[in-house]
Amino acid sequence: MVKVIVTVRLKPGVLDPQGQAVMKGLNALGYEAVADVRFGKQIELRLNLADEEQRNGHGRLKQSIDAMCRDLLANPVIEEYTFEIVKEEA
């Protein structure tokens, strides 16, 4: 099995009202050095590597995850994504 950690963020330039509200909260608590807060989400997937390679071929895991991100996990109009693949012991 592999674990995939996908991080989805709002693109730079897209207003993040939630981040703005939390920044104001931090500032109000006295953390005045905080100049910006941006929210994102982390999505963890577990993939069966053998199944994945059988379906999509050897060494195509990255392309496959990239497609998942584009197709569903992120909305490319307002979001960008990165991902990390972590090998797990069976």
């Binding site: 939630q18 569903l72 909305n75 109009v77 307002i78």
Partner: protein, 234 residues
């Protein structure tokens, strides 16, 4: 003519839309569950408001994979009329039938209030019964109605006249103060390039009878009937 109203798990304005078309406008109307087969003689399909699939991941993101959406996409490709209201607008953007995206309101508040929108075009199947620049009073009820598109996309919308409704004051002035959610250019509703797919955040189905406050929603629904060559019976 024949209207269809699609209900996804979590839709909550499907009955209101059904009532508006079947009872108020006396049109043949079918409520379609998202797994139902597509009737062959549909003239216009409505994707109603609500919280399809609990707004999980992003509003509208999962409804796109509902079995019925394949038919909706094919119907739109054939030139069929598609109207997405509120969550329906979000579904249309997520499914790629309309450009752009709807994200969290700038205020972070769920806005449930009266809104005014100015009709920017009257030569479309959805606005032909409106006067140029007519102001419609329609309720809004959403937390994620903040329309966003990148610069090139916005230019394309403007160049092709795809902006149909913009938030305005009761007198029709499009201003920052009249913008309830932070949408770019006060955008409340847009159409695709071909003009047969429309998404809008305000709820026309909530203003169709006098007791609701006004009947401004009927301008939009009667436009559709006119466009298809149906008869307005009331």
């Amino acid at each position: 003519m024949h209207f269809a109203v699609v209900a996804f798990p979590g839709s909550n304005c499907d009955r209101d839309c059904f009532y508006a078309f079947s009872e108020v406008l006396q049109q043949k109307t079918t409520l379609l569950w998202h797994r139902d087969p597509w009737p062959a003689d549909i003239d216009c399909v409505i994707l109603p408001g609500g919280f399809s699939y609990g707004d999980y991941l992003r509003a509208g993101a999962i409804a796109r994979f509902s079995p019925i959406m394949k038919s909706v996409v094919e119907f739109a490709a054939r030139g069929g009329l598609v109207l997405g209201i509120c969550n329906g607008f979000q579904v249309l953007c997520e499914s790629g039938l309309l450009p752009g995206a709807l994200h969290k309101n700038k205020s972070l508040r769920f806005k449930c209030e009266k809104a005014y929108v100015r009709v920017e075009r009257t030569d479309t199947p959805f606005t032909n019964q409106c006067a140029p620049q007519q102001v419609l009073e329609l309720p809004i009820a959403h937390g994620e109605g903040n329309y966003y598109i990148d610069k090139e996309g916005l230019k394309r919308l403007l160049d092709r006249g795809q902006i149909l409704f913009r938030y305005c004051t009761p007198k029709g002035e499009v201003s920052e103060a009249a913008n309830p959610n932070g949408s770019l250019l006060n955008i409340a509703g847009i159409c695709n390039e071909r003009g047969n797919v429309v998404g809008m955040m305000p709820h026309p189905e909530r203003n169709v009878e006098a007791f609701m406050g006004n009947q401004d929603g009927l301008y939009i629904f009667r436009s559709i009937i006119q466009a298809v060559g149906g008869q307005v019976r009331r």
